[in-house]
Structures are given as C-alpha cells and as structure tokens.
C-alpha cells in the first residue's frame, strides 16, 4: 500500500538535499557560462591551433558520459595532489561538461546573425570591441536564452549522477530515505516531484526571459 504520510514526510529531507542539487547545477552553469565563453572565443578564433583546442575540448566532453567524467575527476584530483571535497569535484565536472555545450550554443547563435549586422557596424567605423559588446553579443545572448535554459534543466537532471561520489543531493537523499523507511516508492516519487517542480520553475523562468528579451 502506498503510504501518503511517508511520501509527505520524505519532502523535508529531500528539500534540504535540493540545495545541493541547485548548488551543483547552478554553480555548474555559472562557471560553465564563463568557461564556455572562453572556449567559444577559441572556436571562433582565426588561429587554427586555438580552434583545434576548442574542438578537442568540445568533442571529449560531449563524447564521454558525464558519470565517467565525474569519476575521472573525482579520482584524478587526489592523484595530482589536490584533495577537495566531493562537492567540489561535482561542481568542477558539471561546469566543464556544461562549458562544452554552452560554447556550441553561443557559437551557433553568433554564426546565426546575418553578416550585415557586423557590416553595418564596420561601415560606420565602429571598433571591434563595440561591435562585439553592442551589436553581436546582445543579439546572440538573447537568441541563446531558450537553449541555455534547456541546458540548465539537463544539468539539474544530470546532477543526480553526483550522488555516486557521495554528494547528498536529491537522488542520494531519496536513496537514504528509502533505506531508513523501507519504503522506496514513496521516497523516489517524492524525489521525482521535486525535480519536476524545480524544472517547471526553470522552464517558466525561461519563458519569462525569452519574452522580456524578445525584440
């Protein structure tokens, strides 16, 4: 029999654990945006070497499962003398994986802008810096919002993977809850509800941003 009270009781510990889910995916995307911007600059560079580095970065991170990368980072860091808590390894992995997808999102958005947008700026005598900050980036960022929100939702879901290195986020907390109550169905259903609520909120945020930035 499904126990409603066990189901409801599961929410409090899981909500506490949700802070780690949000921390890993939130910090992951924030750092991912920064690293992704840097990778995107390399990918669009005139230098062939820079483009190769970006291509390798992107294809490795997109080609290897995130769980495997997480384990590599988690076990690699101590080997090279860096001893950090599991949460740090989780954030780092999430950020670099996100950076690969984000750099591609931005590269696509920048290349999608009509050539005439830059030409109009060049013809008027604008500096490259102003052309980027005033003409290209505002449009590319607005264009990429839906995909960035999509990426963030994927990261929230993917953050369940970091349970394997011991971070007490929603998924691991629901496993613990199931172990204590011997009622796995209630615990995992509560976890599912929490993920759903978080991601519906993010989707709503995305629609709001998209609407606000629409020209």
């Amino acid at each position: 029999m499904f126990s409603l009270s066990t189901f409801l009781d599961a929410f409090w510990p899981l909500t506490l654990a949700a802070r780690y889910t949000l921390l890993v995916s939130g910090l992951g995307i924030a750092l991912g945006l920064v690293i992704g911007a840097f990778v995107c600059v390399l990918a669009l560079s005139k230098s062939r070497a820079a483009r190769t580095v970006a291509a390798l970065w992107v294809s490795y991170l997109r080609g290897v499962p995130m769980l495997v990368q997480l384990l590599v980072v988690f076990f690699l860091l101590p080997v090279i003398g860096i001893n950090v808590p599991a949460i740090v390894a989780a954030v780092v992995t999430t950020a670099i994986v996100a950076s690969a997808y984000i750099s591609e999102i931005w590269r696509g958005a920048i290349l999608a802008l009509p050539r005439g947008q830059t030409e109009a700026a060049i013809a008027i005598g604008m500096r490259p810096r102003d052309t980027w900050t005033r003409i290209i980036l505002p449009q590319a960022v607005a264009l990429s919002i839906p995909q960035l929100i999509n990426e963030l939702i994927l990261l929230v879901k993917a953050s369940s993977l970091v349970s394997v290195v011991g971070v007490m986020e929603i998924t691991r907390a629901s496993q613990a809850q199931a172990g204590v109550t011997f009622r796995p169905l209630e615990a995992y259903l509560a976890a599912a509800c929490l993920y759903l609520v978080i991601n519906l909120c993010l989707a709503a945020l995305g629609r709001w941003l998209e609407h606000r930035m629409a020209v």
């Binding site: 009509p114 005439g116 947008q117 030409e119 109009a120 060049i122 013809a123 008027i124 005598g125 604008m126 500096r127 102003d130 005033r134 003409i135 505002p138 449009q139 607005a142 020209v215």
Partner: protein, 258 residues
C-alpha cells in the same frame, strides 16, 4: 552640410579566389554629384561599391577618397592601420539592400549608436541628434519603434538617417530599394533625392532606371567585372553605343512593360 568627397578609382582589380570580379576599373566620382552603377546581376556592382569603403579589399589599383588612398598605406603596399581605416570609414555612409538595422535597438538608438561609439558623443546629445536625423527622413513619430515594427520603407529611411547623422562626405547605396514592396520605393527615393539636392556625393547601385535617368549626374555600366561605359544618363540610357548596354536596357524595358 560638410563639404562633399570625391572618389578616384584607378585600375582596380579584385579577385574572389580565382574568379576575376573587377577588371582594371577606372572611374572618377566628382564631389557633390550622383553616380549610378548599373549592370546585370553578378557584374560586380556591389563589389566595386564595397571597395570604396574597403568593406571588400581590392587586390591591385587605387581607390582614393579626396586624394587619400583607402585600405593601404601605399598603392600595392602594406595595409593601413585599422584605426586610420575606421577614421576614413566614419566619413563614408553606407546603405544596404537589406537595411541591416540592429533589431535590438529602437530607430533612435540605431541612429544614435554611431554618434556615441564612433563620434564619442554623450548619450543625451547623440539621442538628440538622432531625433533630428529621423525628423529629416520623416520619421519623428517612429523613433521609439524597433525595426521589426516598421515597414521596409521606414526601415530603409532609418538606415539612411543612421548614415547621414554621422555627417558623411560620401554616401554609398547598394540597391537601397530592391528589397522593398513597389509602393514603398518612392518614399526612399525621395529621401535620396533630397540628399542629392543638398550636394552630397552619392554612389548608387540601382535597378531603378527612372532614378538613374532623372537624378544621376553620371551612370556607369558594368558587365562581367568590366566597366563598359560611363556617361551622362541621357546618353548612356537613351542612345547607348555598346551592344551590351543596349541588350541590358532592352531586357529591362521588356520586363517593365507588362
């Protein structure tokens, strides 16, 4: 009105890879006059126009604005510094077939942008000057609109205001009315006629033979990268000697009879 520029094009050649797009072009564009570039599609009109502000680099020859070489330090020599090039471009206005307005800015912000970033005006002053420029093209009631909320004719007039607000001494137009619905062509041509009457040097790539016939001081005909002829519009459009011009005009008239 600031003084108008002259343009001297001497033995200009341009290649796209192996393709010879401009062949030994010689053309004098006198100050304060309107020069129309006509010719079949693919003949090199846009390429030539874009060499004048070095949006397209030419491979040999000279393009002189008021006697000053653009793009290179010396003929066939090193590239000129990007700063000097930007400085020269800022006195040359350009209007594109697709308008190329910046969609994330209002009409007024579009016009003010160059004044702020290139001329270094403060925001309030740039917006004020932008308002005046938009007023001159008859758009004082559309200043707060984004381009997407304007008709094609209005967008192109904003684009002209954006160029004119910079006080250029030379204006380049690349088929400014080709993307417009027929009923919107007139409003854009009227703005251009007013500019011409004000003594602006203008180089206009166009398929509007009426404009070329009535507004141009000289018409240059290009075919397959060659400058076939330059003359007063009455002569080149009414009694062309070259068979290539005759055949081009015949096709044009046949298409416009229906």
């Amino acid at each position: 009105m600031v003084e108008a520029s002259s343009v001297e094009i001497r033995k200009v050649n341009k290649y796209y890879g192996d393709f010879h797009a401009l062949k030994d072009i010689d053309l004098s564009i006198p100050p304060g006059k309107v020069t129309c570039l006509i010719g079949p599609s693919g003949s090199g009109k846009s390429s030539l126009l874009r060499c004048i502000n070095f949006l397209e680099e030419y491979d040999s020859g000279e393009v002189l604005i008021d006697g000053k070489l653009i793009g290179y330090e010396t003929p066939g020599g090193r590239r000129m510094s990007r700063r000097k090039l930007r400085q020269m471009r800022s006195t040359i206005g350009m209007v594109f077939q697709q308008f190329n307005l910046w969609p994330h800015m209002t009409a007024q912000e579009n016009v003010a942008e160059g004044l702020r970033r290139v001329r270094g005006l403060r925001k309030a002053e740039a917006m004020e000057r932008a308002a005046q420029a938009l007023d001159r093209v008859g758009l004082s009631d559309r200043m707060a609109n984004h381009p997407a909320r304007l008709s094609g004719g209005q967008q192109q007039r904003v684009a002209i205001a954006r160029a004119v607000a910079m006080d250029p001494r030379l204006m380049l137009f690349d088929e400014p009315t080709s993307a417009l619905d027929p009923e919107l062509v007139g409003e854009v041509l009227n703005v251009m006629k007013a500019l011409a009457a004000g003594g602006m040097t203008m180089v206009v790539v166009t398929h509007e033979m009426g404009f070329a016939a009535h507004v141009a001081d000289q018409v240059a005909f290009l075919d397959a990268g060659e400058l076939v002829g330059v003359d007063a519009p009455a002569r080149i459009l009414r009694e062309p000697e070259d068979p290539r011009i005759q055949s081009f005009l015949r096709t044009y008239h046949e298409r416009n009879v229906i």
